[in-house]
């Protein structure tokens, strides 16, 4: 009560988690995303342990193209780096760097989805479809929902890029960049897990 008369400097971070609303909100939302992928990945692990016979004997590589996907994985990792570089540029007010890195991120994100689309087409031509046993079901559901998340990320990123070109972000306020970055890295992180357990194991 002693501080009753004291002017409040920034009340909304003083009692909170020490972060601004949008960033906290994104982290909270990512908590629910973790649980969503838990449902999908958890089901995959359970089904695989319970029905090992539903997968090819020598692992998914009998059907899936590992080299292309490894390259695609690398592409997504690169887009994460460019995202974080955009954030670093924004935090020092480097508008040119921010725009360049954002465009790079958008392009690599879009390229990732495109490669996935090509991969799907080829797999379907080979007869590997979602109704092809548990392998097909889990593969398309997990990678499909990941691809959906990447696509949403790309759309949001285009919006952010447009705002960046309008000079909406400064060294003082670049919350939007950091928040979309968190989402983007999370999607990258999920892919790292998916690549290992869906393609390699």
């Amino acid at each position: 009560m002693a501080d009753a008369g004291v002017m409040r400097p920034m009340p909304h971070t003083a009692r909170g988690a020490g972060v601004y609303n949008q960033k906290l909100g994104m982290w909270v939302f990512l908590g629910s995303e973790i649980m969503f992928f838990t449902a999908l990945i958890g089901s995959y692990v359970i089904l695989r342990v319970g029905n090992p016979g539903a997968w090819p004997e020598h692992g998914p590589r009998e059907v899936l193209a590992i080299p292309i996907t490894a390259a695609n994985t690398f592409l997504l990792i690169c887009s994460s780096v460019s995202m974080v570089k955009a954030f670093a540029a924004a935090s020092v007010g480097d508008q040119k760097g921010l725009r360049l890195w954002l465009i790079a991120t958008v392009l690599m994100g879009a390229a990732f989805v495109s490669v996935q689309a090509v991969e799907y087409t080829e797999l379907v031509h080979k007869g590997f479809v979602p109704s092809a046993g548990l392998f097909g079901s889990t593969f398309y559901t997990m990678t499909g929902f990941h691809g959906f998340h990447v696509s949403v990320g790309v759309i949001c990123m285009i919006y952010v890029t447009i705002r960046a070109f309008r000079g909406k972000y400064s060294a003082a306020d670049h919350r939007g960049i950091e928040v979309i970055g968190l989402y983007w890295h999370f999607v990258d992180l999920v892919w790292i897990i998916l690549f290992t357990i869906v393609y390699l194991i």
Binding site: R15, A39, A172
Partner: protein, 585 residues
């Protein structure tokens, strides 16, 4: 770097310039959204109630002509007789509407929205537009669910738990599009709930007023906060499972198929979501009841800290008990043992809460206003619902009573006797804050007593039905010799249920008429301590001219040495006794 930390701007001064649509339809004001959720979920509560009446007609009077049955098409009610396939739809949709579209939005959507900013001293939610999106996703989800009744094959009919393979194969269920609409509706509703929960959690963490420390939060806010965490983490599991179910139905995946997949996986996923869901449906009720009981007793809540820890404990334990819904599903019996023990242990925090409520009443100066009556009914009914849970937790007894009316009695004692009484109490309690007028106390009391008596007459005998072995979700019990003795009881239950439903019309009328004709309410009609009572009823856009500062714990009633028996949270005893008049009295 102040701008980074700056809160969302609120155009407090501009509210009068907004058009009708922006102000009342696509509003971003948490109070308007709360009231929108209230109207929507009361409508679904009514729909769920009508479905329940049809169920009770069939149970009490099987094979007899349903009065007014002519309004239904031949595929539902033939020659006035409810058809078995329609009966399965009724059971399914009653459960779905009540759980997902009535109780859950009534507690989380309405009171989460309305109370959180007002009780923590925030001008609005952290993300007002996200809040609006949350409501406007819930509405189409509800319409998608209703749409099931109007498509060929009827609505979903595999129970609100939708166990595959029944839920995913049309040849088995006789339902086509209805089952898919059920899935899509729940996915949309899930998105709405996740957006809402994200908003509530951020708001509670970041937007509390000066002086509103964690242990000065009212228990209703604690409960809503913990509930939001459960929503945030549990709903995505349901979304994931429902998506897999939908894919099984539409694009031929194999997740829950019997030969190639794993039907029991659905049950694990569903109940891994479902048990936290049970606490989503009861924790906020416990929270608002704590507020009302402290107010009615004119005493600080007994054992505030242990109440908080009990809420947190329930939320933690709620994640490791889901298997008790599956004891007879053919699961690993050793796993069943561990689920039984964790389920037994979860009774302890519930017991703590009950005894603390009794401790709050003890040596109080009790005011029997209508919300207090409902709150006491909550405690009394929750005792029954909690104790009957012990029977099911005990695995051997569960062998016998699983999937019988004993379970039906139990869930209704928790969800109707518990949650719904708390909701009636909370609506009556915060009605003056929402609409600036009091609900009629005379009709409130009539409604309470009729509901209380008819409710017990409806659901208490269901325990006995269950003990006779009466299975749930069966269309016609008269086919079984061992149930021949239950017919009289079924008739009694049905008549009580009709009285119960009719009594709710009093509430509906009271709710609507008080909106226009109720007595004008002051800022603090219940002489409560919460921050929401320090601003006019209804509060202006932005809630307070300047955000309040909090000086005291939440339930400072009957502080010795004060003239009035309540101390609002934005004042200290020194301020009041030094001659500053209490605001809003």
């Amino acid at each position: 770097m102040a701008s980074i930390a700056a809160p969302v701007e609120h155009d407090v001064g501009h509210s009068h310039e907004l058009s009708f649509v922006r102000k009342y339809i696509f509003s971003t004001d948490h109070k308007i959204i709360g009231i929108q959720f209230l109207l929507m979920s009361l409508l679904f509560l009514l729909i769920g109630g009508i479905l329940a009446m049809l169920i009770r007609w069939q149970q009490g009077f099987p094979g007899q002509v349903l009065p007014g049955g002519g309004v239904f098409p031949e595929t539902m009610v033939s020659d006035g007789i409810i058809l078995p396939e329609f009966y399965n739809s009724l059971v399914t949709m009653h459960g779905t509407f009540m759980v997902f579209f009535a109780i859950m939005p009534l507690l989380v959507g309405v009171f989460g929205n309305y109370l959180i900013p007002l009780k923590i001293g925030a001008p609005d939610m952290a993300f007002p537009r996200l809040n609006m999106a949350s409501f406007w996703l819930a509405v189409p989800a509800g319409f998608l669910m209703i749409a099931g009744f109007f498509v060929i094959g009827g609505s979903a009919a595999a129970g609100w738990t939708s166990y595959p393979p029944l839920a995913e194969t049309s040849e088995y269920s006789g339902v086509y599009l209805g089952q898919q609409l059920w899935c899509v509706s729940l996915i949309v509703l899930g998105l709405s709930s996740i957006l809402g929960a994200t908003n509530y959690i951020t708001t509670v963490i970041n937007m509390r007023a000066e002086g509103m420390t964690w242990f000065r939060l009212p228990l209703s806010i604690w409960a809503l906060f913990i509930t939001s965490i459960l929503v945030l983490l549990a709903i995505p599991i349901l979304s994931g499972a429902v998506i897999m179910l939908l894919f099984d139905q539409t694009i031929g995946t194999h997740f829950f198929k019997s030969a190639t997949g794993l039907p029991i996986l659905w049950q694990h996923l569903f109940w891994f979501f479902g048990h936290p869901e049970v606490y989503i449906l009861i924790l906020p009720a416990m929270g608002v009841v704590s507020d009302i009981i402290a107010n009615g007793s004119r005493k600080p809540i007994f054992g505030y800290h242990s109440m908080v820890y009990a809420i947190i404990g329930i939320a933690f334990l709620g994640w490791v008990v889901w298997g008790h819904h599956m004891f007879q599903s053919g699961m690993n019996p050793t796993l069943g043992m561990s689920f039984m023990i964790s389920t037994m242990v979860i009774a302890v925090p519930s017991a703590i809460k009950t005894f603390n409520w009794l401790g709050t009443l003890w040596r109080g100066n009790i005011r029997f206003h209508v919300p207090m009556m409902h709150a006491c009914a909550f405690v009394s009914m929750f005792v029954i619902g909690g104790l009957s849970g012990v029977y099911m937790a005990s695995t051997p007894v569960d062998i016998y009573i699983h999937d019988t009316y004993f379970i039906v009695a139990h869930i209704h004692y928790v969800l109707f006797g518990g949650s719904l009484f708390a909701i009636f109490g909370a609506i009556t309690f915060w009605y003056p804050k929402m609409f600036g007028r009091m609900m009629n106390p005379f009709w409130g009391k009539i409604h309470f007593w009729l509901t209380f008596i008819a409710y017990n007459a409806t659901f208490f005998p269901m325990h006995q039905l269950g003990l006779e072995g009466h299975m749930r979700r069966i269309y016609d019990a008269s086919r079984y010799d061992f149930l021949s003795g239950t017919h009289g009881l079924n008739v009694f239950i049905s008549i009580s249920a009709f009285v119960l439903f009719a009594s709710q019309l009093i509430f509906v009328l009271n709710f609507i008429l008080s909106w226009f004709r109720g007595a004008k309410a002051g800022a603090n009609p219940w002489e409560d301590t919460g921050l929401e009572w320090t601003t006019p009823s209804p509060p202006p856009h932005g809630n307070w001219p300047a955000t309040p500062t909090v000086y005291t714990p939440p339930y400072e009633f009957s502080v010795p040495g004060m003239a009035q028996d309540y101390l609002p949270q934005d004042q200290s005893k020194d301020m009041v006794t030094a001659g500053q008049p209490a605001k809003g009295g």
